[in-house]
Symmetry: C2
Subunit: 150 residues, 2 copies
């Protein structure tokens, strides 16, 4: 077997295993779609509450913002497992699967921004929170522009 | 004004303020329903992963179970804000609003069970995890039996 064929066969095996895991975790593609949308709904709610504080529409309460930032950080790690092979659909653009490296890079940028936002929120420094909030919001928008259906 | 009337008026005011807050947080009742269902979907996914370990269907990995228990504990605190006045619907039984004290007691029992499960999961003692998992599952079932539509 030529090296190229071995690599192709190994890649196919890895993809099959990944697809198998995706199927094992979510019995149907709809379950994966429901899960990732649920995670993003929970994240969006907490992000929206921090947004109201940053925009001056709600008073700053350190504990509240810290809790919501912890939720955002935790949620930011979860939806990606539900974008496995065979889970196309919902509001997801096909580019998630056809240009997966770009999607993965965008998802990692968002997770790092959420970690920073959580650190700022736990510190209680509102100016740091505002900066980290803006960076996190930009990472959400960046990914939505490329990978979420309008 | 008689005392009884004052109490009734105060209660009405409190209920109106609560309703106002519920409306302020969720622009429409559908938003509250979507949020609470999303929280419970995220919680159910992580609880299901712990369930697979407890039932011996998946290998025990301390970090994985600890992360999922932390998600369950965090999620367990969130849906209740989305069961405010005027948010009837979805899979929620009307008894949530007509017998709210019972619903609140059931929700608090579940949150305490989830805290115990999280503690057990962080400790890494599988026998404690199994016990706390059973108690948490019972608290879920207890509340669903009374307050979730079949």
């Amino acid at each position: 077997m030529k090296l190229q064929k071995i690599i192709l066969a190994s890649t196919a095996t890895v993809l099959m295993i990944s697809a198998g895991l995706a199927i094992a975790q979510f019995q149907k593609p709809e379950d994966a779609i429901k899960y990732r949308q649920s995670v993003l709904t929970v994240m969006g709610n907490s992000f929206g509450k921090i947004s109201a504080v940053v925009k001056g529409e709600a008073p700053y309460n350190k504990d509240e913002v810290a809790k919501n930032a912890a939720i955002v950080a935790m949620m930011s790690t979860l939806p990606w497992q539900a974008f496995g092979p065979g889970t196309e659909g919902g509001k997801a653009q096909p580019d998630i699967w056809s240009d997966n490296a770009k999607f993965k890079a965008a998802s990692e940028k968002m997770q790092l921004a959420a970690v920073d936002l959580n650190k700022a929120a736990q510190s209680g420094d509102l100016e740091s929170i505002k900066k980290a909030f803006a960076a996190t919001g930009a990472s959400c928008k960046n990914c939505h522009d490329d990978f979420k259906k309008k």
